[in-house]
């Protein structure tokens, strides 16, 4: 059932994202062409262009504005679709259809989550790709890759660890933190849904409320840690200090990655369980 839900989830959103991505890349290409025309000041060519295309500075400026708008549109669209597909499709009128399908709540949430993460990743890729379209030429790309290659050799020599794996770890943590962020939105919407009125306002409140609760929890945790450190015997502190001092740069990096990963995983599980429980036990469609 999950694969079926995913199929319809992507079908519902693909056209909108596809158009927006094409528009962004198109605007990037347009900007590239206009900018090339406007700022190529080879004397003879320039004066010919002046006669052929007198407004070319204005055209370059306008296509620049268009490109900026399209980038903003991709970001806003991604965010709005993540909200809308959960709120409208599961808790609005379309919820009558979705919740009468023989599907469990966790499958609904997972389908929405996977689509949200996939679109977030694709939007990021498209924005980077469009920057390449605007600013890069083959020579620059070749230089960039050469630099990157050189850096990865240096990285390997210096830290005895492949750069690509280190970068992969970071990307993986970013992905898990995206999952946690999306699930925080879902949990907030489900909390807002518990009210009779002002559900959206309460969902927004719940979102920031969750953030505040997390902040408070973190500061309590830190305080507890301080108390433990104060109470701990010197020998233990020395041992920990020695351990930290002896860490290599790469080991410290892995440790930080591991902590961030655990933190985001715990948050994800927490938000998922909250959303699923509320949807299973307290669903009340109007």
């Amino acid at each position: 059932m999950l694969t079926k839900l995913l199929k319809y989830e992507f079908r519902a959103t693909a056209r909108l994202f596809g158009l927006c991505y094409l528009g962004t890349l198109g605007a990037a290409l347009l900007l590239r062409i206009m900018a090339t025309l406007a700022w190529d000041h080879t004397w003879e060519y320039s004066s010919q262009m002046e006669q052929l295309f007198p407004m070319r500075d204005v055209a370059a400026g306008m296509s620049g504005a268009l490109y900026a708008i399209m980038i903003a549109a991709v970001v806003v669209l991604t965010f709005i679709v993540i909200l809308q597909r959960f709120y409208k499709n599961l808790l609005g009128g379309e919820g009558y259809l979705m919740h009468t399908l023989p599907v469990r709540p966790w499958e609904h949430i997972t389908a929405k989550l996977i689509a949200a993460v996939v679109w977030s990743v694709l939007s990021t890729i498209v924005i980077f790709l469009s920057l390449f379209v605007v600013g890069m030429d083959l020579k620059l790309i070749r230089e960039l890759f050469a630099d990157l290659l050189a850096f990865s050799w240096y990285f390997q020599a210096e830290f005895h660890f492949p750069l690509i794996v280190a970068a992969g770890e970071l990307i993986f943590v970013l992905l898990v933190s995206t999952v946690a962020s999306v699930l925080q939105i879902y949990a907030a919407i489900m909390l807002g849904h518990q009210a009779q009125k002002h559900k959206i306002a309460l969902a927004v409140g719940a979102y920031f409320g969750i953030g505040m609760v997390l902040n408070v929890a973190m500061s309590i945790l830190l305080n507890v840690l301080f108390v433990i450190v104060e109470a701990a015997p010197d020998s233990l502190l020395d041992a920990v200090g020695a351990f930290l001092e002896n860490l290599s740069v790469m080991q410290a990096y892995h440790l930080v990655i591991l902590f961030m990963l655990l933190f985001n995983l715990i948050l994800s599980v927490l938000f998922f369980v909250m959303t699923e429980r509320l949807m299973r036990r307290n669903l009340n469609l109007e």
Binding site: M1, K4, Y8, A12, N89, G93, E94, G95, Y96, L97, H99, T100, L101, P102, V103, R104, Q196, R281, N282, L283, N284, L285
Partner: protein, 232 residues
């Protein structure tokens, strides 16, 4: 006759108002049941509870032995009294989607019904009139081989000719193992197809009788009895 629906001591309220109060109802297979009552008596709330769109505050609901969940939803075909289909979809896409999720959905039957009512599969829902949308929703609901059909105001928004077609479809779909629950204000129009009548008032079942018994014992049609009971 197998019992298909059992509601026991169900309570449901929202916003400080009790909608269903100690609601009890039992429906057996092979019956077409009219759920009748004034506005706000809890008909739609009852339907939504059985379909898992609302969760009861108290009490038990069993559909063919299952509490509302994926197993019950696979057995119930529900026509809500709301415009619930995604606007951007084409009629034929919807048919494909419903067929994908419900193994008991008969796509050929749906297509035949669409062509009977002259609805093109290529149209997007947002271009359809309100009445045509309701017909599409009804066709989707009636094209399943479900155990329990729950139709909330199925004929309220459609023209009289389509009404006849819909009622014939409901009767034509009759089988021993399935039950149909129809909620409506238009008692006179559906009286001919009903086996049983359930009168609902203030969130409780105040009468549950076979239509034959109403005619024999009360000497009245369901419509007349309704008017008498709910006289304003």
């Amino acid at each position: 006759m197998a019992e298909l629906l059992r509601c026991e001591n169900v309570w449901k309220g929202y916003g400080g108002k009790q909608v269903l109060m100690d609601f009890n109802l039992q429906v057996d297979g092979g019956r077409i049941v009219g759920l009748l009552g004034p506005n706000g008596c809890g008909k739609t709330t009852f339907m939504k509870l059985v379909n898992g769109l609302l969760v009861p505050n108290q009490g038990q609901i069993l559909i063919d032995g299952y509490a509302p969940g994926p197993e019950s939803k696979a057995r119930v075909s529900y026509l809500p009294d709301a415009n619930y289909l995604p606007d951007w979809m084409k009629v034929e896409d919807l048919v494909v989607m419903v067929a994908d999720f419900f193994p008991d959905f008969d796509a050929a039957k749906a297509i035949a019904m669409l062509s009977d009512l002259k609805i093109s599969g290529l149209e997007r829902l947002k271009t359809l009139s309100k009445g045509t949308k309701e017909k599409v929703q009804l066709i989707l609901a009636m094209s399943r081989q479900a155990r329990l059909y729950m139709l909330d105001e199925p004929i309220g928004g459609v023209d009289p000719a389509a009404r006849d077609y819909i009622l014939n479809t409901i009767i034509g779909n009759y089988n021993e193992n399935a039950a149909v629950i129809i909620s409506t204000h238009l008692i006179m129009d559906i009286e001919q197809v009903l086996d049983e009548a359930v009168f609902l008032n203030n969130g409780q079942v105040m009468l549950h009788k076979s239509v034959d018994a109403i005619r024999e014992e009360d000497g009245k049609s369901v419509d007349d009895l309704f008017r008498e009971v709910f006289r304003c």
